[in-house]
Structures are given as structure tokens and as C-alpha cells.
């Protein structure tokens, strides 16, 4: 357990000192997004990687968090911090309620149902113009602030977002290495055996679904208050797929992997600016190739690669930690 903590502290130290190294404004801005996407990917990983339940509609929870927070602060002048809490709790409750019928489904049917849910919510963002501003979006969302400190530039936002990201990662790592994490992975491997061992699979799946939605909603609110402008286009089906890709590339069941996946997929479009028209294609290709050749994700794929290349140490057993 100590090893985990040390690993995390090193990671946190690296991330928190990054702005001092990368003084460039543009890169910092991208890293803020990496932070938000990491929160989303970690939340989704708990559902997808640990519990093994497919969700193709997570962008909707992200969007709901953003819009609820945005609407509460612009139309109703609610304090932004309070708005974040309200949005996250509301989305969590909604996901909990919807979770019961949805998680009875498995495999393709679950994928489709979550897809539908995501699209229905996306259409609502576009059509409920009085509330959300429709396709032209919602603007004037206030920045977050603590006393005199207003989070209105990239540097401050970086620390704000990454505090949340690191907290989410730590809590998720704790959860993954605990009794609940084991129960989730048990459900993934053999739901019937897990139930025989006393795991209330149905309830736990719904709880994780709700937790995952809650986390995504927090990310959404943070996004809204950092960008001060949101529009439905960011919360559609395409982004849901992007999130799933991040989790898969990073490695199902690997929290650090989710960071890698999020980082890669956020930085890639920036690096491929020149190839803008090809981005959709490269995306699809990446998905296919990753699933075919590195189904365990980058983290596992790279470590397997590393293990294959490094000299065999006698007496070592096959296995994972």
C-alpha cells in the first residue's frame, strides 16, 4: 500500500510542478483540458474498466453538469461552488434512478441504451432553447473564486482543475484497491460467482454508475466555469466515444492509464493540427488498432512489451499484482 502512495505523490508532484517547467501559455491551456478529461476518463474507468459496464453516453453527464451549473449561476445567480455541488448531486441522483432499468441490460443492449440516453439528453440541450440557449450556447458563466482569488487565467485554472483531478485520482485508486474495487472486478469477471459470494451486483453496478455520473458532472461544472461558455456541440455522441477511447487506450482498470489516454487524446489533435481533415479517420484507426493489438491498453501493453523485451529473471512467476 505504501508503494501506491509513493507512486501517487510522485505523480502529483510532477503534475503540480508542470507549469513551472512549461511556462508557455498555450500548452498550459491544453493541460487544463487534459485535467478535465482525466477526471472524466477516471470516472468512466470505474464503470467500464472495473465494473465492466459499457457506457456510450457519458458526455451527457458531463454536459448535464455543465448546463445545470451554468444555468444556476447565470439565470439564478447561485454561488458557483454551490452550483457545482447541486449539479453533481442532481446528476448523481438522476443516474442512480435511471441506472436500475439500464443496468439490467448487458453487452450490446447496454451500449445502445446508454447511447440513446446520451443522444436524448444531447437533443434536449439543443432544443430547450429557453433554458440552455440552444445551439448557440450559454455564455457569461462566472469564474470560480475563493474570496479575492478569482480563477480567470490558465495558470490559476490549471491548479484549480488539477487539484480536483488529483483528488479524483486518489479517491479512485483507493476505491479500486479496496473491497469495493474487488467486488466490481468480481462482477466484471463472473457476475454470478460474485453474487454467490454476497456481492449485491445489481445495487453496486447502479451505485458505480451514479458515482461515475457524479464525477462527470463535477468535471462538467468545472469546464463551464473555466470556459465561461458552453454549447451542446461539446457534449454529443462523438465526445462520448472519445471518452471511451481514452479509457481503452489508457487501459481498462488502470487509473494512471486513464490519465495517459486523456493526455494522448487531448494532445493528439493539437499535434495533428496540420492534418485536420484526417483527424476523424486517424481516430477510428487508432480505436481499431488499439483494440486489435493492445486490448489491455497502453499501460498494460507497454509493460507487456517491456516484459517481453527484458531478460528473463529465473524464478519469476507469471502474474499481476
Amino acid at each position: 500500500m505504501k508503494r501506491e502512495l509513493v507512486k501517487f505523490l510522485i505523480f502529483a508532484a510532477l503534475l503540480l510542478s508542470a507549469p513551472l517547467i512549461f511556462k508557455g501559455g498555450y500548452l498550459l491551456n491544453v493541460l487544463v483540458f487534459v485535467g478535465i478529461h482525466t477526471i472524466l476518463a477516471v470516472g468512466l474507468n470505474l464503470l467500464l474498466g472495473y465494473a465492466g459496464q459499457i457506457s456510450l453516453g457519458h458526455a451527457a453527464f458531463f454536459g448535464l453538469g455543465a448546463y445545470i451549473s451554468g444555468i444556476l449561476t447565470t439565470t439564478y445567480n447561485v454561488n458557483p461552488w454551490l452550483a457545482i455541488i447541486i449539479a453533481a448531486v442532481a446528476v448523481g441522483i438522476m443516474a442512480f434512478v435511471v441506472g436500475f432499468p439500464i443496468l439490467k441490460l448487458k453487452g450490446h443492449y447496454l451500449a445502445m441504451a446508454t447511447l440513446c440516453l446520451g443522444i436524448i439528453i444531447y437533443i434536449t440541450f439543443n432544443e430547450a432553447i429557453d433554458l440552455t440557449g440552444g445551439p448557440s450556447g450559454l455564455s457569461g458563466i462566472p469564474n470560480l473564486s475563493i474570496g479575492q482569488l478569482i480563477f480567470d487565467n490558465d495558470l490559476k485554472n490549471y491548479y484549480l482543475i488539477w487539484t480536483f483531478t488529483l483528488a479524483t485520482m486518489l479517491l479512485s485508486i483507493n476505491l479500486a484497491n479496496s473491497r469495493i474495487g474487488r467486488a466490481l472486478r468480481a462482477i466484471h469477471d463472473s457476475e454470478v460467482a460474485a453474487r454467490v459470494m454476497g456481492v449485491n451486483a445489481r445495487l453496486l453496478k447502479v451505485q458505480i454508475f451514479a458515482l461515475s455520473a457524479f464525477i462527470s458532472a463535477i468535471a462538467g461544472s468545472l469546464y463551464a466555469h473555466t470556459m465561461t461558455f458552453i454549447s451542446p456541440a461539446s457534449f454529443g455522441f462523438n465526445f462520448s466515444i472519445e471518452l471511451v477511447t481514452m479509457v481503452i487506450i489508457g487501459g481498462l482498470g488502470s487509473i494512471y492509464g486513464s490519465f495517459l489516454g486523456a493526455a494522448l487524446l487531448t494532445l493528439l489533435p493539437e499535434l495533428l493540427r496540420a492534418f485536420q481533415d484526417y483527424d476523424i479517420m486517424i481516430y477510428g484507426l487508432l480505436l481499431i488498432l488499439m483494440t486489435m493489438f493492445m486490448p489491455g491498453g497502453l499501460v498494460r501493453g507497454l509493460s507487456a512489451l517491456f516484459a517481453a523485451i527484458s531478460p528473463k529473471i529465473p524464478g519469476r512467476e507469471k502474474g499481476s499484482a
Binding site: S178, R179, A193, R195, M197, G198, E317, G319, S320
Partner: protein
């Protein structure tokens, strides 16, 4: 301890079980045998909550448990193992047994995420207990191996260790000797006796006659969904109808 009464199970047009009753006495090792298709696994699946019976009742120490889900039964102290071992393949051997301790621990999502002190203590206890059960069945040296990589015989032992970790009152085993060679089967017989000695009631479905006759106190024979005979191993061995059913099958 376990009283199964008048279980009938109809699947579509097929009568899988026809008015089957069984009483498992506390501390006994009870066996359910019968030719293929007799309905043994179906009976087990019904008793352990995997499916619901068409009619009939099940009582665990006079509490009606008909229709209870497997997770509820686990909390009441009933656990089972599977014919085609259902291990948590992606998890290590030790972690598999730790899941068995799920009902003996309480930390919820919040306690785990925040790593509250109660949770930390509980984790340590779970780990120790799990190692204990691995030692009990004799595979403690394989603790870190991924469960999917275990040889079949060890996998069976792991399933039993996991079931024991639940500290059940009764353990139902579905064809525990399937796929084991004669040495492994003999070791299994010893293990089953040790389990009984620790106060746990055992019920098993089995095909391996030697194991059944050796280890069981009481046997129920099923054929084509109906009860054929019931009694001690000696009585069953001498029962003409049973002999006919088995020999008749070829």
C-alpha cells in the same frame, strides 16, 4: 438444516424436476447423484437462487428461502461452487479469496475511497483471513498468480477456499470432482471431511461414485427429474432401481 420440498421445475415444455424433496441434516455430507440429465444441477441452481422454481419450497433452518437471490443467501450462510469453476480470472488467487470475505466486511464506497482507519484495519484483516484459507486448502504458495493461469485442479481448490472464506453454514458443491484425477479426487475427499469437521454442512452433486460412496452420509438419487431412491451409501448401492437406472443408461 436444509429442507427442500416438492420442487417442480418446468422449462418451456420440459419437466426438469418433478416433485423432488430432500432433507439435508446439519453436519451431514449429503450427495445427489443420478445419470446425466437427471436434473441435479437444476436442483442446485434452484436451491442456490440462480433460478426460481415453478413450484415447491425451500427452507434453511426453518426459514423459507424460496426465491431468495444468491447474494441474500450468502448473507444467510449458504454458498456454492460451480461445475465449470467460476473464478475471477483477471484477479489474483489471493484476491479471489478476499472477495469471499465480502459478507464479513462492511466498508462502503465512501469509507473505501477516503481510506478511513476502520477500512484500513478491515483490509488488513481480510488479507490475513484470505491467506489463512489459502493455507487451509494448500495453495498458499500461489497467492499472487492470476487466477486464470491456475491449473484446473488448483482452480477447484481455490473455489473451495473462496467459499470457505464466507464462513458459511452450508456449502453446496456442484460436481467438485469433475476434471480431477484420482489422486486429486482422494485429496478432495479429505478436504470435504475437514470442512465437515469444522462444523459446516456439505451437499454435493456428483458423478464420481467412489467419492460419493466414500464421503457421503446420505444420498439422493434422481433420474429424469424424479426421485428414484434415498438412503445411506450401502442402501443405495444395493437398490435395484438405482442399479437398473445406471446400467440401463449404458
Amino acid at each position: 438444516m436444509l429442507k427442500v420440498s416438492g420442487i417442480t421445475q418446468v422449462f418451456g415444455g420440459l419437466i426438469a424436476l418433478d416433485n423432488v424433496s430432500l432433507t439435508v441434516r446439519k453436519g451431514d455430507i449429503t450427495g445427489v447423484i443420478g445419470p446425466n440429465g437427471a436434473g441435479k444441477t437444476t436442483l442446485f441452481n434452484i436451491v442456490t437462487g440462480i433460478y426460481a422454481q415453478t413450484s415447491g419450497t425451500i427452507h434453511l433452518e426453518s426459514k423459507n428461502i424460496s426465491g431468495f437471490t444468491p447474494e441474500r443467501l450468502a448473507h444467510l450462510g449458504m454458498v456454492r461452487t460451480f461445475q465449470n469453476i467460476e473464478l475471477f480470472g483477471q484477479m489474483s488467487v489471493l484476491e479471489n479469496v478476499m472477495v469471499g470475505l465480502h459478507t464479513r466486511s462492511r466498508s462502503g464506497i465512501l469509507a473505501c475511497a477516503l481510506k478511513l482507519p476502520g477500512h484500513i484495519r478491515e483490509e488488513r484483516a481480510i488479507r490475513e483471513r484470505a491467506m489463512h484459507w489459502l493455507e487451509y486448502v494448500g495453495i498458499a504458495d500461489m497467492a499472487r498468480i492470476q487466477a486464470a493461469n491456475l491449473p484446473f485442479g488448483k482452480g477447484r481448490l481455490l473455489e473451495i477456499a473462496r467459499a470457505m472464506a464466507l464462513e458459511p453454514r452450508i456449502i453446496l458443491m456442484d460436481e467438485p470432482a469433475a476434471g480431477l484425477n484420482s489422486r486429486e479426487t482422494a485429496e478432495l475427499a479429505l478436504l470435504i471431511r475437514r470442512v465437515r469437521e469444522s462444523g459446516i454442512t456439505v451437499a454435493l452433486v456428483e458423478h464420481d461414485m467412489e467419492l460419493v460412496m466414500d464421503v457421503c452420509d446420505h444420498i439422493l438419487v434422481l433420474n429424469l427429474g424424479k426421485m428414484l431412491a434415498e438412503g445411506t451409501p450401502r442402501e443405495i448401492q444395493e437398490n435395484e432401481a438405482v442399479i437398473a437406472a445406471y446400467l440401463g443408461e449404458g
